[in-house]
């Protein structure tokens, strides 16, 4: 996607999250993250498990535990999510401004109630629809938007396959007409066909205009470790390593030519079985014990003395020696 005239739906500036641990030390789960997501755009946030991706999502929803400290700004529709109080988050943000598509739909849905009952409750809470018959119709419409079959509405979560449970959770996320969808590992544990199906549906929701806004679609922030799924859906890619965004790039140039510029991103793509299938040597550092310089230096083939200093994260690549388009082509 190219630049759009409208301001981004979500704009994150210098977002940091620290956890205070017993004994006075702290864990830097997210450090100085900058990114924007525009309407009709999908940003895929990729990285290894434990790199801080899900903490970032929790920070946006105000769902961090009590020992977390945040810094920076995250603007969504004129509101700074990090400064908002619990009352604002509960009444205006969750479900209404951000729709969450959870990692494990089976765990997200209430096991003792039917999908219809859960949809109708959500419709009642988030929209102005009132009255038994209208709520019922609105619930069925919500199911239809997520391609959830009407014949399965009276089933309980355990009676649904993984794909249908995913659609039920998506239907719930779409009810409030939120301008931002936040999908946290939506394809984890699904088989390849179901992964493709799920991301294609998410893409459709990004491209479908929201009812309230008219011409613009939704913005989607998808957190995933599945590079194949990210390649299928994303307009932009943000790569996270040890709590920092090390590269933000257009998806076409990231997955195609000239390819990623940060050595870590290149290693991650190179590890795919359809590419080199070669692992990046070593393991990521602990978030509680990050080195003073570049966190990737110990695993990097391009390391020099300069890497003892932390590269700036404000540009598109946080690296002292990024791959340059001309040398990649050569």
């Amino acid at each position: 996607m190219t630049q759009r005239p409208e301001p981004p739906v979500l704009s994150v500036h210098g977002l940091s999250v620290r956890f205070l641990m017993p004994g006075g030390h702290h864990v830097a789960a997210v450090t100085d993250a900058h990114f924007d997501v525009a309407a009709g755009e999908c940003l895929a946030l990729i990285g290894e498990s434990g790199c801080g991706k899900s903490v970032l999502a929790s920070a946006l929803l105000g769902l961090l535990p009590a020992n977390a400290q945040t810094a920076g700004r995250a603007h969504l529709g004129g509101l700074d999510l990090l400064a908002a109080d619990e009352r604002t988050l509960a009444r205006q943000v969750r479900g209404r401004m951000i729709g969450l598509i959870p990692q494990s739909p089976a765990a997200h849905l209430t096991p003792v109630r039917t999908i219809r009952s859960q949809l109708e409750e959500t419709v009642g809470q988030l929209t102005g629809v009132w009255g038994r018959a209208s709520v019922r119709t609105a619930g069925e419409d919500a199911a239809a938007r997520a391609a959830f079959p009407a014949g399965h509405l009276d089933r309980y979560p355990h009676e649904l396959s993984g794909g249908l449970a995913q659609r039920a959770a998506t239907a719930l996320a779409l009810v409030g007409g939120a301008p931002l969808l936040l999908a946290d590992e939506p394809t984890s544990g699904l088989d390849r066909d179901l992964v493709e199906h799920t991301v294609d549906e998410l893409r459709r929701h990004v491209d479908t205009p929201t009812r309230t806004k008219g011409d613009t679609g939704r913005a989607l922030l998808m957190i995933t470790h599945d590079l194949t799924a990210a390649e299928r859906i994303a307009d932009k890619v943000a790569v996270m390593y040890a709590g920092r965004l090390v590269e933000v790039a257009e998806a076409d140039s990231f997955f195609g030519l000239p390819g990623p510029r940060h050595p870590y991103s290149r290693g991650l793509l190179g590890a795919l079985p359809e590419r080199d299938f070669t692992p990046i040597p070593g393991m990521p550092p602990e978030l509680g014990d990050l080195p003073a310089g570049c966190a990737f230096a110990t695993r990097c083939a391009r390391v020099t003395d300069a890497c003892a200093h932390r590269p700036p994260t404000t540009g598109s690549v946080a690296c002292h020696h990024p791959h340059r388009p001309e040398e990649i082509r050569a």
């Binding site: 179901l194 470790h225 299938f277 393991m283």
Partner: protein
């Protein structure tokens, strides 16, 4: 040789999920079984790993039919097979430090004294540092825990490895690292591999031969044994 002969297995005798499946794995061969979620491939893997007794059919392991499953299997048989499961969190005792987790099969077979050496030998190539080995499962990432679970599967030097989607939860780099470690072990020992999963690209790159669940159920002849089978895909040249 690991031979599954018309195996029928499941959790309800009236509705078995695995019906009359046959599959043969030659010594040292790596066979990948592809199939969608819920098709029964994990159940078949559990049968091959002596963890689930089939309703009917025979498992012949290295020329000898298997008569006992789970704790009814003789120790020599059980220890010939190493298993890696999909979810490391569910297959590791949360109370054990990683070093003890890896050494557990040695303790269980009365070879406690080998533990220190064997753990050190396995941990190093898998990138498990002494610091990680001192931690418990909740203190490490999924990728690090799965590395430990792989080390545990290899600690008794099995002749067969059964892998049930060991990398479905993991990122690309950790996946490649685990596969490399398994292939290094197989190259050194000549162990056979039975890997089930749904990632076509991964299993075709990894295994000597991949078979699809639908082809196993359509015919009693393993598709890889049929000449010209499109599913008997060979690994591309130059693969590790």
């Amino acid at each position: 040789m690991l031979e599954l002969r018309s195996i029928t297995a499941g959790y309800d005798r009236r509705a078995p999920v695995v019906r009359g499946i046959s599959l043969t794995i030659e010594p040292g061969e790596a066979v990948g079984l592809l199939g969608p979620s819920g098709c029964g491939k994990s159940t078949l893997a559990r049968v091959a790993a002596l963890l689930h007794r089939p309703d009917s059919g025979t498992l012949v392991l290295d020329g000898e039919p298997v008569r006992g499953w789970r704790h009814h299997a003789p120790p020599a048989r059980r220890t010939a097979i190493g298993v890696v499961f999909q979810q490391p969190r569910l297959s590791s005792d949360p109370r054990l430090r990683l070093a003890d987790l890896i050494a557990e099969p040695l303790r269980a077979t009365g070879r406690r004294e080998e533990a220190a050496d064997r753990v050190a030998e396995l941990a190093e190539p898998l990138g498990l540092t002494p610091d990680l080995l001192r931690r418990r499962p909740h203190e490490v990432s999924d990728g690090q825990l799965q590395r430990a679970c792989l080390a545990r599967a290899l600690v008794l030097r099995p002749r067969w490895l059964i892998c049930d989607e060991p990398t479905a939860m993991l990122d690309a780099s950790t996946t490649a690292a685990l596969v490399e470690a398994i292939e290094d072990y197989r190259a050194a020992t000549g162990a056979g591999l039975f890997a089930v999963g749904h990632d076509r690209t991964l299993l075709r790159r990894w295994c000597d031969r991949t078979v699809h669940w639908d082809d196993l159920t359509a015919s009693s002849v393993p598709p890889g044994d049929r000449p010209g089978s499109p599913l008997a895909a060979r690994r591309p040249a130059g693969a590790p």
